[in-house]
């Protein structure tokens, strides 16, 4: 059935049930619209004048009070659940091993090795970096994949949505779902006023921020920080740039294509290099990746390049999410 016919039928139905567009001189209309034989069967009309059956009363009652009763029940139920869970957890916490005690079960041989041999085995001065990117690197790989999944989902849900021709055409009901209630504010880059103070501050601070981000990323294996934190700092530089100069400016060097390409290739490099390391490790093959001396920039084997890859992914993703939310596209 084509769209025109569907619309006609819908209008027709609305007109019949009285929900359609009103005519201007409605009060003057005395004649009732004819009751069409196929929309209201005669016995159904008669049944309206009968006393309501129990089922009908139940339905009416639910229509009237259902939502409020449901919400009261739901509220009380969830309060009870939360109180019970918190109580249980409080009792649990009081029975846990005491905080900060040296004899806790958590202080065992695992931590011993991480701390005693971590420096020599991974070459990283920062034990946490050594742990997350070498000992337990598979978790961290999964974590980057979570970020990637989130970015892809947000991109899928938001970016393609504004295009009209994306809606499926052959669906019967798609016309109903397209109600666009939201009146969006215009995108920020369309602002007319041009903010001199902000631009001045931005032109001074963006290089500093980028430098800071790079330092945090590159020193990830030496000092606290690393790919995730440094990437977040880099993304703030991008966001500031977008706010001061408009999204169009950022678009010139960073758009959806570059974003997808850079994060995919960074993640691919990450996956391949880590995959090589996993593979050689599990099969007891010498991997041949030098560890270097602790404390140098070029040390700790794969941790430095992995941190750089993670930094690229995080910077792109966080900026991308911001741009998607404020602009609808990267």
């Amino acid at each position: 059935m084509n769209d025109g016919l569907k619309k006609f039928l819908l209008d027709f139905y609305n007109w019949v049930t009285g929900n359609g567009a009103r005519t201007e001189n409605e009060d003057a209309m005395t004649e009732l619209p004819p009751v069409l034989p196929f929309t209201m069967e005669p016995d159904k009309i008669q049944s309206r004048f009968h006393e309501k059956t129990l089922q009908e009363r139940r339905k009416d009652w639910i229509n009237l009070h259902g939502l409020s009763v449901f919400s009261i029940l739901y509220r009380s139920f969830s309060i009870i659940t939360c109180v019970v869970i918190v109580g249980l957890l409080l009792i649990t916490v009081s029975e846990l091993p005491p905080f900060g005690d040296e004899n806790n079960p958590a202080n065992n041989e695992v931590i011993d090795r991480y701390i005693k041999l971590g420096g020599n085995e991974t070459g990283a001065q920062n034990i946490v970096a050594g742990m997350i990117l070498d000992y337990r690197a598979f978790d961290t790989f999964g974590e980057s994949a979570v970020l990637f999944t989130g970015a892809v989902s947000v991109l899928m849900i938001l970016s393609a949505a504004r295009r009209k021709n994306d809606e499926p055409k052959n669906k019967l009901h798609s016309g109903f779902n397209d109600r666009n209630f939201l009146k969006r504010a215009p995108p920020i880059h369309e602002l007319k006023d041009d903010d001199a103070i902000l631009r001045g501050v931005a032109s001074l601070s963006i290089p500093a921020i980028i430098l800071m981000g790079c330092v945090v990323i590159i020193n990830g294996h030496l000092t606290p920080g690393g790919g995730f934190s440094g990437g977040a700092v880099l993304s703030t530089a991008l966001i500031l740039c977008a706010n001061a100069y408009g999204f169009k400016k950022v678009h010139e060097f960073f758009n959806e294509r570059t974003y997808i390409f850079s994060s995919s290739s960074a993640l691919l490099i990450y996956a391949l290099s880590k995959g090589y390391s996993f593979f050689t490790g599990a099969n007891h093959i010498e991997s041949g990746i030098p560890i270097g001396t602790i404390g140098n920039i070029f040390s700790a084997g794969l941790i430095l390049p992995l941190n750089i890859c993670v930094g690229i992914i995080v910077a792109g993703t966080l900026y991308g999410v911001y741009a998607l939310f404020s602009e609808g596209e990267i």
């Binding site: 059935m1 249980l88 649990t92 029975e95 846990l96 091993p97 806790n104 079960p105 958590a106 041989e109 695992v110 931590i111 090795r113 991480y114 085995e121 070498d134 000992y135 337990r136 690197a137 598979f138 978790d139 790989f141 999964g142 974590e143 994949a145 979570v146 999944t149 989130g150 892809v152 989902s153 899928m156 849900i157 393609a160 949505a161 021709n165 994306d166 809606e167 499926p168 052959n170 669906k171 019967l172 009901h173 798609s174 109903f176 779902n177 997808i260 995919s264 290739s265 691919l268 996956a271 391949l272 995959g275 390391s277 996993f278 593979f279 050689t280 490790g281 599990a282 099969n283 991997s287």
Partner: protein
Amino acid sequence: MTVKTLAYNIPFISIFLMMIAAIITPVLPKRHRIPEKLSCICLFIVAVLSGYLIYALDTANGDIAFNFPVGHYPAPWGNELRAGLLEAVLAFCYSIAMLLSLTGNFQSTAEDIPERRRSFYCVLMNLLAASLLALTYANDIFTSYVFIEINTIAACSIVAVKNSASTIRAALRYLIMSLVGSGLVLISICLLYDLTGHLLMQPMHTKIIELVKNGKYIFPLTVSLALITAGLAIKSALYPFSFWLPDAHGSSTNASSAVLSGLVLKGHIFLIIKLFLRVFGLDVIEALRMDKVIFILGVTAMIMGSVHALKQLNIKRMIAWSSVAQVGYIFLGLGLNSVEGISAACLHIIVHACVKPMLFTSAGGLSAAADHLKSLHDLLGTFYINKWAGLGFVAGACSMMGIPGFAGFASKISLTMASFDSPLIIWSLAALALSSVLNALYYVPAMIAILTGTDEKIHGVHEKIIIPLSFKISIGMFIALNFYLGLRFVPLLRLIMRGVNIFG
């Protein structure tokens, strides 16, 4: 090393292959449906590899399972994967079912999802497959958590991909419920780490046994077990927590419904099994009385899921509620707390993972034949329009009812056999019987509805719809799998039992 080198590396390779496929999909060209083909090829490779792994483990001397250290460091320090017969069988089944549900819904995916989104959709499907495989093989509780999160986000977004109001709402509800679930899982993982000082499963197990023997920290252990089970139960739609499921599975596109209902729920259930067998051990579970709770919830789910399904007129929602009932069967098997019970539960996981995607795929085919209407009233006589879909639906319905010769019979009979050794025999037999009757009560009318048609439908006075070859192949494979599982389930059950015995 008793296994050959290739087999030894298979768990890692299969997870990694799906990951890399997901990573490179966004940069691939979108035309000619290259992303989807890539997914299918990768899934096929994973299936072949898993088949080889089953063969290698089956023919190796003795019952073996091996640990695969991910990285250079051995067990308590680095991450680990662990593969045995059970994991290999499940991985094989997941990849086959996912491959078939992707190929079977090739056309409906193209109709529902615009081209721009389809490449992202494939990324999410690949990530979903990778996370399922990782949940199957992971031997580390925190790795499992990370992959649960990947699974959650990917699952919610493949619900929302259709971009209609109802799917968005369903995805939101699904997201909120599964976030509650993963919050509980996370709290419980923190507690467990605090109590044992390990994140890997086997060292954790020894520590827990020690704690229980000494009578220390019993209450925190119980609470963390309860929380992690509750969290995973929410995610796997055990009955009282399953109200998000019909919306999410009923309104999304067919491929998503098939994968979500058939596989994603199973990933979390398998994690519960792993937790029970490997982390806590059956004795501890029995001592903490968790098995009874699981049993009662399972029985409730079996009955209430069917009762809800009886009320549905929308065919996809009906099948979705039937999933709730089938999840109940799995938890019933778990609640028997014996090797036989858990083997039967695993068999049911496999059976359901093969049958439910078939039901969703054929329901999609049938509703496409009825001009995309989904109410049973509109599906009258659609069997004669799309015979392949009709056959698939009939086979799936027969299987769900447990008619001998079909796949569902296999798991039902093995659940029955398993419950003979249990003290709960009367309850479990009664529940099985009642649930089978209820299943029949809603699947038979649906079958009758699609088989009774008006004359013009039977004699072909309707517009011909072209059934794509991929749909035929997929349904044919599904039906063949169905019969294979129904007729030759004994060797499979034996294989699973061997797997469960060496699982801990």
